[in-house]
Symmetry: D2
Subunit: 365 residues, 4 copies
Amino acid sequence: MAGNSFGQLFRITTFGESHGIAIGVIIDGCPAQLDIDIDFIQSELDKRKPGQSKITTQRKESDTVQILSGVFEGKSTGTPIALLIPNEDQRSKDYGHNVDVYRPSHADYVYDAKYGIRDHRGGGRSSARETAARVAAGAVAKLLLKQHGIEVFAHVTSVGKIDAPNLETNDLSALLQIREENIVRCADPATAHEMIEFIDAVRKDGDTVGGKISCIVKGCPAGLGEPVFDKLHADLGKAMLSINAVHGFEYGSGFAGSELLGSQHNDIPQPKAADSKVFQTRTNFAGGILGGISNGMDITFKVAFKPVATIMHNQQTINAAGEASEIKGKGRHDPCVVPRAVVIVEAMAALVLADQFLRNKVSIV
Amino acid sequence: MAGNSFGQLFRITTFGESHGIAIGVIIDGCPAQLDIDIDFIQSELDKRKPGQSKITTQRKESDTVQILSGVFEGKSTGTPIALLIPNEDQRSKDYGHNVDVYRPSHADYVYDAKYGIRDHRGGGRSSARETAARVAAGAVAKLLLKQHGIEVFAHVTSVGKIDAPNLETNDLSALLQIREENIVRCADPATAHEMIEFIDAVRKDGDTVGGKISCIVKGCPAGLGEPVFDKLHADLGKAMLSINAVHGFEYGSGFAGSELLGSQHNDIPQPKAADSKVFQTRTNFAGGILGGISNGMDITFKVAFKPVATIMHNQQTINAAGEASEIKGKGRHDPCVVPRAVVIVEAMAALVLADQFLRNKVSIV
Amino acid sequence: MAGNSFGQLFRITTFGESHGIAIGVIIDGCPAQLDIDIDFIQSELDKRKPGQSKITTQRKESDTVQILSGVFEGKSTGTPIALLIPNEDQRSKDYGHNVDVYRPSHADYVYDAKYGIRDHRGGGRSSARETAARVAAGAVAKLLLKQHGIEVFAHVTSVGKIDAPNLETNDLSALLQIREENIVRCADPATAHEMIEFIDAVRKDGDTVGGKISCIVKGCPAGLGEPVFDKLHADLGKAMLSINAVHGFEYGSGFAGSELLGSQHNDIPQPKAADSKVFQTRTNFAGGILGGISNGMDITFKVAFKPVATIMHNQQTINAAGEASEIKGKGRHDPCVVPRAVVIVEAMAALVLADQFLRNKVSIV
Amino acid sequence: MAGNSFGQLFRITTFGESHGIAIGVIIDGCPAQLDIDIDFIQSELDKRKPGQSKITTQRKESDTVQILSGVFEGKSTGTPIALLIPNEDQRSKDYGHNVDVYRPSHADYVYDAKYGIRDHRGGGRSSARETAARVAAGAVAKLLLKQHGIEVFAHVTSVGKIDAPNLETNDLSALLQIREENIVRCADPATAHEMIEFIDAVRKDGDTVGGKISCIVKGCPAGLGEPVFDKLHADLGKAMLSINAVHGFEYGSGFAGSELLGSQHNDIPQPKAADSKVFQTRTNFAGGILGGISNGMDITFKVAFKPVATIMHNQQTINAAGEASEIKGKGRHDPCVVPRAVVIVEAMAALVLADQFLRNKVSIV
């Protein structure tokens, strides 16, 4: 069973290679009568597209999305929504030198090991270009969530060892505005400035650097998540780990929480005000999720990205015959993936939430 | 769509509540002709069962497993394997006081919010007792993996802020032996001693503490993992995050890797010796997985567990009406979950690997 | 991927062999708060159980069902419902003579061909005994449907060449009562009498005979069924064809409809009465389903069962080595399967409808 | 959960509406290294395309297929294969008169009932145009099967009450050649002539007629099919019933078999010749399938199609408000669907067999 689908009720299947004709996605299970705002989908893609600033790859792709099916007079019809993004700048010749050489920390070798054949142009299917399809589908999921008052917001909170301070998160719109005012997509302007300087220096060295993205979900009702395996945080974790270059996921108190005592870590529920239906706890170490089910508090998680494997240095490696070889740093790549990955994290989170939102609709008879 | 199944080709479905008649699991997709060693399955359950030492809960359960179907004359037949574990010590009266009160950082509230009904006896379905079914199924997965030379080993590497040093991992059998010689299941005896002292002190305080478990997989061939969503580490991450109390997952370089430069983080492939078919890299920041596919190196990951929510302190909370309430510390619970969770981590890892092993069998025409 | 699960949202997994310890089923996805009437489940099983009349097998099984999980204080909790039916009369010695011989038109050979191992006792997993688990799960599905006013009724309409006349179907309760008054389960008493005489004669000859079951569903709202593959009649067809001995399925006008002209076959919609929300057509060749979606009219379909393969004659055959062999007619078997299969047909229909009912809940945003 | 995917390991997802921009299909799970012969795929589509003869609709579509992904240098790479078929002749104005009127025996009403919105142009998603995507995917499945010596052949055996005689089926290539020499696709030339005359007469009357297609699979090894629900014939049945206009499915002895005695119906296995590995029975009432698993004999089944609902007569009906209305016969439609459906039946059969072929690869450890 191949692995190019994600989600159960709000289910996507992506296709396409880095240097093929097009990439795209089918959404099967988007409920009917949802307003499909193609401009919004495009604006999300624009946040991921290459070439948007000096700290991203200079590959040129407009990433213009086309709706092939499933939308009629601006609304979803309940039939599969096919979204197509043609590849434009397929400068495959950049990759001719890699046909037979395994780039360090890339997937070249393992695709050969698994399939015995590999579209070597720009990483083929293993390229992060595939995530454009996720962003397009995630935009549709966001439209669904928005109808139900659920907001997803992510931003860059670490680049290398530079960490953003904890921010007040009551107003996600305000944070979004700040985030979009800087090219590294950190909602703290001072840290953003520092991050950009650092990435630019790394880029000039022909090197790359990793980072972390934090995500917060507001307005999620209690009840989302399906025990015992499809816990909300388990699905979020899988979604994030399926993004290229991700090496770690934690939610709520995360790794640090494992160092605490129960008496420190327990979130004490607060008595409800007379007119409130809301469950609230004094602290939120739970990250909005108990027993795998949302409790109505903010959902919080963090994602760690390794540094991009393509560097502009010469590196020793091997070829397909297993012989020593050398690879030269060429091509167009990102010095740091997190600024463009912010919208991918949001998209995958939105896909999980949309799916679990629909799944929860059949919980009670 | 409910979430009580895991895996695609080697697929399990668990059932049962903490204080019901029995818990159990159906394995659908275990290939035929596998030797099913019931003593091994039982020995795995014995490592998870309650009451095994002074630092685990004193609930008494023999956790005796029975095979109901799918095995004939000691071998799997290709039909569903049903494994049943009767509940014995269903001391539900311990929980009578919780019927209407939401225990802090437990799933009581969210089950009510989601289902509008809740088996309140001992956490019902949200109890970690369910993981016994996973351990039983995981034992069968281990038998399958063993036939193909794949070994899974986990041990406790942190309790609170006590961390084990990095260990030499060439000989997993030796580590397993050391691990089983101490009740905290850390493969470093000195650290184990320290951890046990600490947990015992925490227990005497009526408190609990979190910890971390590290896992290593040896002998995994290259090629396991299904891009782009069912990446090997994404499935491992989901599997781990689905275990009760887990708040974080990282593989290979993990969170720390996100602080590095690409030139530091890239794993340089080594030329193959004349007679070798093995892919090897100088370092293993990749944790044995590239692009979501195993590369033949050791697979390494780490899992963070929050402290157990049940503490022997009185705690403020609310009842189902949202009114202030107090909960008293009673019942029988673990001061630290990680010693018993080691075999659960291994079981879930084995289930992922068995599933991906079968899935990889159809990769090439 | 093994095939022991059925349904997407109301999903069952059955397990167990004819002469093993027990058979059973897990229902994952039954919504919470459904009243689970165990007496009803048992009464359904009683309609399928062996030994109930002179025209059924004399194997003795009480088929007593036990609920292991998922039900609390009489209601479903949203967690997996495990139903267990112990095997009692495992007279395996009856089958000792078949260890190495392939019974004509049984699954002995193909299980060996597929799995290389076979539980030969009484057909093992291929035995129709497995359908008891379906009936138990189907009873729960019926309870869900009943809450929403959906009724499922089947009865025997053919035995061999004896066909029942078309009946007035406005009152399913009345038909059910008539059906249960005769042992062949035909709702037309005169035909029932004739069928019973014929089956009894066939039985005395040591032979068996096939038959047909017709099913009608009343009260199904418009909208159930998921184009383009999971059409309501496609799921019904698969469900029926998965029952042992079924060789054919047709709905609405069926095979005969293929001989008609469009001008004869089209069902003309009737103008709605002022206060009606109901869609009605003059005829119902569609069998209540258009484009794979229920239209609110009665759903009708028919299922053809081959004669039972076990006959009390000596038959030529081969053994596992491919050599000529002879098999003697022994054991306890049904001369005609349709009287006991009526409730299996209903169960599978109920499972499909419950599943599609839940699936339809997420069709509109 | 929407229903636009089919298959488990060889899994397709189709998309597109009759009068949208394009229709298409993603194949996820096609094994790597399969030669993808695009000319063959196109030639299959040519057999289904409209306008190919006087007895098919005159809608003009070249149905030119384009491969968007998953194929590299002529071979499958193991990544999703996306096939796109642009719509060319989208003469939507033909359908303007149907916006608000429910065509008798079409899916107009039920799409409105289910989704509350409907792409009314030419049937939208409910149009049989969607089956072009199935034919394209089925062609790839045929390429996979061919590598393993499995052949699928279907032809028209009934139009209205005109039935073809039973044919000798040893040489499928010869039958295929005969079939393609007449426009009704019946492998018996004399019957074909009669059928064509009849369809032409029906067409001139502005009417339509139903028919039946028989299918035979040769070279299928024993072992395909997954008990107990995903039996080979159950999957075939669902596949066929999911095709537009299909009202019945039977395999082997089918409905007629239900009239026989066991002593007549049992297929007696033949002793194997010394050098043979083949299982053979004297008769083949089983249709090549026992207990849901292929036994190595020819697989045979038959599919019944109702007459096309669109006729060139004026018909009474209702509008969306439930009021009496009349619909005039306009547009371009087929007088009889079976000639074009032959390749659809083959495609769906091939998809089932390819899927079950892959599934069977993991049956034994």
